[in-house]
Symmetry: C2
Subunit: 463 residues, 2 copies
């Protein structure tokens, strides 16, 4: 760890430059970088140029903007010392759409500071989090302390829409990204307000199924003789999952599941119990009758089949009708080492056995699961860094939601570490998104300490 | 039956007055009598006055308009000869809403004649059918032939919205309606284009169920631990019906079912096979693998539980979400002697055992089933009348769809006979509703022959 005296200098520097940091963040929040899968948004180019200039200012001579498909990426490298480990710092420039402006108390792209929080779309997801890395590097430079690592930068212009451009860039050229570790900051921290590190992400197969039993919905007087698409879909869905255990009953679904090992399981007990928060926030009924450990084991380590939508007939009137058509959206949420392609095939085989042909199954998107081993030798040093900044015990969790960059890190052959710098109530993806400025400051300090730890424990990089 | 010479006179009169009949129908179609359960529609009053004037013209001295709640009824009586049977002629003045005018080839309330059909909302349902009765009475009067029956008239202003005003009138005073038989003409004929008589109607319990498992839909990362409202509703619905047999598995559901007797069953073989029409019109998949007899037995005599609507989550986007809320519309379609009140209770008991309380069950409407015995002594004479007019074998069917007036006839203690005067492709309740003018003419002749048969077989009225 950084010695006490140097650490105090870093703190002094970061606190002394707090206002400038906030100004920079404000400049970025003003750029409405909502990505679209098809239509390029000029705001993303503006943001990419902003980042490129910043990188150049801190000495990244090969900073460049590339656009593999629709949305730009920014890449660049700092340092090339073979004696130091190399860290890929991943960030994303794009933001979620603001939604109806009337749901916002302040304009979404006009940063406003209230009660030590900066409000605005992208403040927490991901702009405040990614400039924390840049501000940390500036701290090293301004204090004349050599950077302990080589850095490869990657700024993604389409994380909120699935990181397709990043994936294509990885396919086309991976040289620019070669590194020992991937590091990123995103999302809100665990609901317990403890600093949080996430290791890996879930895979997913997201699909839409259509079923037609009669060529138009018809009067319900025919209900005794004509096949109702809703009843039939119910039967099909019930053939896919045991209602008592929730276990998926599609043949082969669990074949490739990598069972959590001792390291995975060892994390569970240390995650603060969700029960109180669940009761308050979501009031589930029935309330899950499980221990905190078991809750997190299922949440983080169990594959599942989820119905995300079901529509048949009509709910607006008093129609007496046999629905002839039904549409269902399903999500197979995967864990290592389930392969989305294989799961897609298994689902198709199952559905076909019930008469649903390929043309009625639309695979909307898929994502591979990924895993960073919880006993990776960098986990300890990184949590030490977090503990020092926040002065509390961090939460370390395995895979949780689906996060495209993670499987791409896997593909690039590097373990990924994800530390959240936004507080739990940042209103992620929602109106009135905001970033607590103390968490922002702690994010900068964490980045400083994390870079130091990567450098200090460089000896583990070839393990 | 009417002797051949008189019958020729009737035909001559009806054909000689065809144009006047069409004019009268056109006048009625121009009145947009769409009923609303809450807001009175002045067009219904206008129509009621039109009918009252007509009744007065043919000698109904007690014709009056009553409005038990929102929509008017017209009542009146013609004849009081204790030697003749009395027939209640039921009709409804209201029509279905026209829907988007752009779906119509001609304006819905502006009658247009094309290829021997009169187009316009209400032409077939029910205006052309009910004036056929009045035109038949005029034929008797103009030819100087005494009416063979006493007649009680009832014109309903709200059949399309459940005949609530008629039901209230029945509760308040039944004297005006006392009769030996009820007779009505409504709906399209059987798809085989044969003249059709229907005996009784289905009962129904139409309800909406809401289920909430978490107080808001949440990210699907929680799918392994939080109760998904859609999965839970699937489980509940599956507990209510055997998917293989379609049999309802709610305790007690079949307890009161009056099994079809020999007379009921004897009708089935004579109904033309639905198979060809089904294949063409609805192309059900799977195609019901049953005989025509069995098809009609189920269609006409089996209670069933139908899902009329199911909505959970959202189908418009790519949301990864655990739906916390689901809404389902169910119909229990009943047969004699199932009681909608008791079935409602049984459904509530079942749903409650799955944790769905009364406040989440909304009974939208109910209707009692009704039955006219197929071996009633008037069935033969009435089908003879139909056979004479159409020169083909009529279709006689038991209860089919739910039709409020039928259970009210039951309540008034009179067997109901329903003969359709509109051709099968009248576009009932749909855009471009129309009435084939030959079917209209045959309807008038059928009314003449039916009144004669009721009078001629008056001896059966006390059976």
């Amino acid at each position: 760890m950084i010695d006490e005296q140097t650490w105090r200098k870093f703190i002094q520097y970061v606190d002394g430059n707090h206002d400038t940091a906030i100004e920079r963040l404000s400049e970025l929040v003003r750029i409405p970088t909502v990505a679209d899968p098809i239509t390029p948004n000029p705001a993303l180019d503006e943001c990419a140029q902003f980042i490129r200039s910043w990188l150049q200012r801190i000495g990244v001579h090969d900073a460049r903007v590339v656009t593999p498909e629709v949305n730009p990426l920014v890449t660049g490298s700092l340092g090339n010392d073979p004696g130091k480990p190399t860290v890929l710092i991943y960030s994303h420039m794009d933001v979620q759409a603001a939604g109806p402006e009337t749901d916002w108390e302040t304009p979404p792209f006009e940063p406003v500071i209230k009660e030590n929080r900066l409000y605005g779309r992208g403040s927490g997801d991901n702009k405040g989090q990614f400039i924390a890395h840049l501000l940390a590097i500036e701290a090293y430079q301004q204090l004349g302390i050599p950077l302990p690592v080589n850095i490869r930068f990657l700024y993604d212009g389409g994380e909120e829409i699935g990181s397709g451009d990043f994936a294509r860039f990885v396919e086309q050229s991976t040289g620019a990204l070669a590194a020992d570790y991937a590091f990123t900051s995103d999302g809100p921290a665990h609901e317990s307000w403890r600093p949080t590190m996430v290791l890996g992400g879930r895979g997913i197969v997201y699909l839409k199924i259509r079923l037609r039993t009669i060529n138009r919905s018809t009067h319900s007087q025919y209900a005794p003789v004509l096949p109702n698409a809703a009843w039939r879909m119910l039967q099909i869905l019930n053939s896919m999952r045991d209602p008592e255990t929730g276990r998926v009953t599609v043949d082969g679904f669990y074949d490739d599941v990598r069972e959590p090992d001792r390291a995975d399981l060892s994390l569970l007990g240390a995650i603060p119990s969700p029960i109180e928060n669940l009761r308050e926030q979501l009031a589930p009924d029935p309330f899950p009758d499980i221990s905190s450990d078991e809750y997190y084991r299922r949440l983080l380590m169990e594959p599942v089949l989820n119905i995300a939508g079901f529509a048949a007939g009509d709910l607006t009137g008093n129609q007496t009708v046999v629905p002839g058509h039904v549409e269902v959206k399903l999500e197979a949420l995967l864990v290592p080492d389930q392969d989305p392609q294989r799961i897609t095939e298994l689902l198709k085989i199952h559905l076909e056995s019930w008469g649903i042909g390929s043309s009625d199954i639309e695979i909307m998107f898929t994502m591979k699961p990924s895993r960073t081993p919880p006993d990776h030798p960098m986990v300890g040093p990184l949590t030490d860094a977090m503990r020092r900044v926040w002065d509390t015990e961090p939460v370390v969790m395995n895979r949780f939601a689906s996060y495209s960059p993670y499987y791409l890190f896997d593909q690039l052959g590097m373990p990924g570490f994800y530390i959240a710098y936004a507080q739990p109530d940042q209103s992620n993806h929602a109106p009135n998104e905001n970033l607590d400025l103390t968490w922002f400051r702690n994010g900068i300090l964490t980045s400083i300490a994390v870079l130091d730890q990567f450098g200090r424990h460089g000896e583990v990089r070839n393990q």
